[in-house]
Subunit: 544 residues, 2 copies
C-alpha cells in the first residue's frame, strides 16, 4: 500500500492538469505527483492527428488550435517548451452568408463582416453597450458586478432581443455564440457571457483573428504537443492513461482517489476535468450542495470540427482567405471555416459545425454530413472544393471523457448564487480546468492559468516555503473571495475603449437621426455610412 501513497493526485492530464503538475514539480521536485487520465492520451480538449494531405500526410489540430498574443500564460509556456507559432492566414476575400439559403452571398476583407450600413450601426451600438458592461464586471467574483442579479437573470438571447435593432444582427449574434461556445445564445447567462468576454479583454477578441484576438496564431506541429512536452517533463511514469476517476474520499488525514482498478492515497487532489464530468465523480463526504448546484448547471458546448485537405489552396488562388461565416438558416451545416494550410504548405480548410447545427447534424451519417459540408464549400469557394484529398472530423460530444467542446458555460441564475463554489477548495480537493480561469477562461491559456493557480494552492498547503509572498497572498485572496480584485484585461482598457466607443456611437446616432429626419437625404447619409465599417475596423484594431 505504501507504494500507492502520493503527495498530489491530479484528475485529468489535459493542459490544466499537466501545467499544475509541472509547476508543482518545478517548485518541489521531491513531491510525488500522479496524473490520472480517463482517455488513452494526454491533451484533453487538444488533440493533433495525422491525415492524408498533398505531400503525403501532415498534422492538424482537431481540438483547441489558436493562440492569441495577449494569452500570456500560454505564450510563456510555448516559449518554455521551445515550440513555435505562426499566424492564422486571413488575407483575401471572406465569405458572408446570412438569411435564407437564397440570400445574397457577400464578400468582405475587413475584420467585421459584410453587413449593410444599418446593421453595422446596430452592431456598433450593441458592441459599445456590451463593451461598457464588460468593463464593469468583476471576473473574479461576478456576483460583485453592478446589476449582477439582473444581468445573470437573463439569457444572452434576451439581451440581444432587447438591444439589437435588426433581425440581421440577432442572427449574427447567434452565429457568434455558436462559434465561440458551441451553444445557442438562449443557453447561457448574459452575465456569464460578459464575464467570459471580459476575461479575454472584450467581445471582439473572442471573434477575430486580428492581433491580440483568440484566432491569431497557431502552433507548428499542433497544440497537443504542449501536453506531450509537459508530460515528458513531468515524467510519463507519473501519468496513468485509461484511468478514469470514479470516486474521491476524504478523511482527516488523507484523500483517497479511486479508479476502476486503483485506489490511491494522497495529501491533495486537483480535479481538472470540465464541471459536467467533475459532477459525475462520487465524493465522500458529499461536496457542499452549492458546488453540486453549480456543476449541475454548467452545460458544455457542442462542436464538430472538420479538416479537409486539398492538392492546392485553390481559394487563395481565387482571392479568398478561406474564411466563411454562414448563418443558421442558410442550409449550410457549418458556421465558420478558416484556412488551415500547414506550415509545410499542405493546403487545408478547417470548419466548425456548432451549437444547434451540431445537435441536428451529429446523429446523421458521417457521409451525409461530409456531403453537406463539401456542397457548401463548393457553393462558397468554387467547384474546386469538391476535389478534396481527405475529410476528417471530430464530434466532441462523442469523445469519452470530454462529452463536448470547447467550454462549459453557465446557465442563468448561477453566477449570483453559486459562483464561489467554482474555485473554492473542498477540503483536500482543488479545482482547475479552463472553466475556473480568470484570464482567457475557456481557452488553452485559461487552462494553463487555472492549473498554475491550483498548483500554488496545493503548494501553499504542502510546502508553503516554495511560494513567494505575492503568491501566498494571491492564494489567500483567491480562496477568501475578497481583497483586491484582480485587474482584468478589460478593466485596464476601460477608459480607452469607452472614449473610442463614444465617438462611434455619436456617429451612429447622428446617422440614424439623419436617416429618420428626411428620406431625401438618404443617399448622402448612405455615402457617409459606407465609411462606418472602416471607422469601426480601425477602432477595433486599435482597441485590441
Amino acid at each position: 500500500m505504501t507504494a500507492d501513497i502520493w503527495d498530489v493526485v491530479i484528475v485529468g492530464a489535459g493542459l490544466s492538469g499537466l501545467s499544475a503538475a509541472y509547476l508543482i514539480g518545478k517548485r518541489n521536485p521531491k513531491l510525488k505527483i500522479l496524473l490520472l487520465e480517463g482517455k488513452d492520451r494526454v491533451g484533453g480538449r487538444t488533440v493533433t492527428s495525422e491525415i492524408p494531405a498533398a505531400n503525403g500526410v501532415d498534422r492538424w489540430d482537431f481540438g483547441g488550435q489558436w493562440v492569441g498574443s495577449t494569452q500570456f500564460h500560454l505564450l510563456e509556456l510555448i516559449k518554455e517548451l521551445g515550440l513555435e507559432t505562426y499566424p492564422q492566414f486571413n488575407t483575401g476575400k471572406k465569405v458572408h452568408h446570412m438569411g435564407k439559403p437564397n440570400a445574397k452571398v457577400r464578400h468582405y476583407r475587413t475584420s467585421l463582416p459584410a453587413l449593410s450600413p444599418w446593421v453595422l450601426m446596430d452592431l456598433s451600438q450593441i458592441l459599445w453597450k456590451i463593451d461598457r458592461l464588460c468593463a464593469t464586471v468583476c471576473v473574479q467574483d461576478p456576483s460583485k458586478s453592478p446589476r449582477a442579479v439582473e444581468l445573470d437573470s437573463m439569457t444572452l438571447h434576451s439581451y440581444v432581443e432587447q438591444h439589437a435593432w435588426t433581425a440581421e444582427l440577432k442572427e449574427e449574434m447567434g452565429l457568434c455564440s455558436r462559434t465561440v461556445f458551441g451553444m445557442e445564445p438562449s443557453q447561457m447567462s448574459f452575465l456569464f457571457f460578459l464575464v467570459y468576454a471580459a476575461a479575454a479583454g472584450g467581445v471582439l477578441r473572442l471573434l477575430e483573428s486580428t492581433p491580440g484576438s483568440a484566432q491569431e496564431l497557431k502552433i507548428k506541429g499542433g497544440t497537443q504537443q504542449l501536453s506531450e512536452c509537459l508530460a515528458e517533463r513531468v515524467g510519463w511514469k507519473n501519468v496513468r492513461l485509461g484511468s478514469a476517476v470514479t470516486a474521491i474520499w476524504q478523511d482527516a488525514e488523507w484523500a483517497r482517489v479511486t479508479t476502476d482498478t486503483d485506489s490511491l492515497l494522497c495529501r491533495a487532489v486537483i480535479v481538472t476535468c470540465p464541471p459536467h464530468l467533475a459532477a459525475k465523480i462520487h465524493y465522500e463526504p458529499a461536496l457542499p450542495s452549492q458546488r453540486e448546484f453549480l456543476t449541475q448547471n454548467m452545460p458544455v458546448g457542442h462542436m464538430i470540427k472538420f479538416i479537409i485537405t486539398y492538392q492546392t489552396a485553390f481559394w487563395k488562388e481565387n482571392g479568398f482567405s478561406g474564411e466563411i461565416v454562414a448563418g443558421s438558416s442558410t442550409n449550410c451545416p457549418f458556421s465558420v471555416t478558416f484556412d488551415a494550410t500547414s506550415p509545410s504548405g499542405n493546403a487545408a480548410l478547417v470548419g466548425f459545425i456548432a451549437g444547434k447545427h451540431a445537435s441536428q447534424w451529429s446523429p446523421k451519417e458521417a457521409g451525409e454530413r461530409r456531403e453537406a459540408v463539401i456542397s457548401s464549400l463548393v457553393k462558397y469557394l468554387g467547384p474546386e472544393a469538391a476535389s478534396f484529398i481527405h475529410y476528417e472530423e471530430k464530434d466532441w460530444a462523442k469523445e469519452d471523457y470530454s462529452g463536448g467542446c470547447p467550454v462549459n458555460v453557465m446557465a442563468p441564475g448561477l453566477l449570483t448564487y453559486y459562483h464561489p463554489s467554482l474555485r473554492n477548495p473542498c477540503g483536500r480537493i482543488h479545482w482547475a480546468g479552463t472553466e475556473t480561469a480568470t484570464q482567457w477562461c475557456g481557452y488553452m491559456s485559461g487552462a494553463v492559468q487555472a492549473g498554475q493557480r491550483a498548483a500554488l494552492e496545493v503548494l501553499a498547503e504542502l510546502c508553503p516555503t516554495t511560494l513567494t509572498q505575492e503568491e501566498k497572498e494571491a492564494v489567500w485572496y483567491s480562496q477568501a473571495d475578497q481583497g483586491p480584485v484582480q485587474e482584468t484585461i478589460s478593466s485596464k482598457q476601460k477608459h480607452l475603449s469607452t472614449n473610442k466607443a463614444v465617438v462611434i456611437v455619436t456617429l451612429t446616432i447622428s446617422a440614424a437621426f439623419l436617416l429618420a429626419q428626411h428620406r431625401n437625404v438618404f443617399q448622402t447619409v448612405k455615402s457617409h455610412l459606407m465609411n462606418v465599417p472602416s471607422v469601426i475596423y480601425s477602432y477595433c484594431n486599435r482597441n485590441l
Copy 2:
C-alpha cells in the same frame, strides 16, 4: 450467476419506480423484477417521520405531502392502497409580508394575497397572459408549441420583467417560483414554466390550496406509506436498499446494472432517479449526446422543509389559518408556511426555506436557522409561537441520492433542442421519475404517471399481449414523439379560461384607464377595484 438474471431492474424505489414495478407485476406476475435503491428506505422524495408532539409523538411528511383532486393517477393509487386523505386547513386570516422588513404585514382571507388594487390588476393581467400561453403549449413535445424557440430562450425572470407592471408583482412571482420549484425565476426557461403549469392545469393550481390545486389534500399517516404499501405488494424481497447503481452496460442480448457490490443481468431497465442523478451513472455504450446535454442542464431545486409542533394550534384560536407568505427582502428565512395539524389533532406548522433563501441558510448552523424561523413566526402569529414542542427540518440538498427537492427544472434553450431525450428509451433503458410526466409533472401524481408509462413501455417489449390496443398505441406515440398529441388538462379548459380571463382583463384595463384619466375619480375607482379580488377569486375557483 443465473440467480442474478432479472426481467426488469428498476433504478430507484421512489413512487415512480414502485408504481412501475407494481403495474408490471400486476400485468405479468411471472416477470422477475428488482428495485435498486441508493437510500436505506423507499419513498425517494417522500419521507414520513415521527417527532415529539402535544400527545406524545406523531408523524409528519418531510418531503412531498399534498394531493390535489385533479391528480387522478395519485388519487387512484391512494384508493387502491386503501389510504385516506383529509383537506389542508386553510380557514382564517392569512399573513402576507412583502417588501422591506419594516413593510406592513397584511392579512387576507381569499386565495389570492393581500395586494393593493393596482398590484392585483397587474397580477390579473399577467395571469391572463400566462394562462393563455399555457393553453397553447404542447406538454408532450414542447418544441411544437407556438413560439417555442422564443419562449424557451428567455428565463421566467425575463418574462416577468417584461410583462409585470409593478415591483410588488415581480416580488410575488419570485416567491411563487421559490415555493413551487425551490428555485429563482432566473434559473428556468419560461417555456419550461409554461409546460409545467400546463401539465398541472394552470398556474394557480400550482400555488393554491383550493379544490383541484396542488395543496388541497393530505394523506393520513403520511405519503411515504404510498411507497411502503407498494413495496409490500411488489414484495420487499424484490427491493434492495443501500444499493446505488453506478453503471449500466448494454449489449445485443442484455443490460447489466452494477452497484458497488452487485452486477445484475436483465432484459430491461427503468431509471427513475432525478435527471441530475441519472447523469451520474456511467453508461456503456454512452448515451446519445442529446441525452447527456439534457441531463447536464436540468438543475434540481433547493428546499429546506421544517415542521414545528405546539401544544395547541394557537394560530387558529387567534383567527389565523397558519398560512404565511413572506417575500425575499423581509429578513424572514421561510417563503411560506401552512397549518400542519395532524388528523389526530397534534398542532403543527409546516414551512419551507426555498430557492436563494435555502442557498443562504443551508450552510448556517441548525440553531441559527431555527431561531430565525421561530422569530419570524412570533412576528407574524404572536408570542405563543416561541413556545414550541419540537422543531425538525430536512435540507433536501443534503439528502444522499436526492441532492435537492422538489423537482428538476430545465434551463433555457433545452426544450427546443434536447427535449425528445427526456423520455425516449435508449436501447433497453427506459426513463421514469416525475420529471418525465406529462400530467402533474414534478408532483407525486406525475411520478406515478411516469412510472406507469415506463412500465407499459417495458411490457410492450417483454410481453406485448398484456397490453390493450390503446396502451400499445400510447406507447408507440410516446416513443415516436408524433401522432395525436395527448390532450393536456389545460387545453381542455382553454376556451373556458380564456373567456373568463377576458372579463377580468376588460375590468382591469377599464379601471386602469379611468385611473389614468382623472385623479379626482380615484376614490370611486378604488372602491370598484376593491371588488377585484373577489372577482378574481371566484374566477379562479370556478376555473379550477
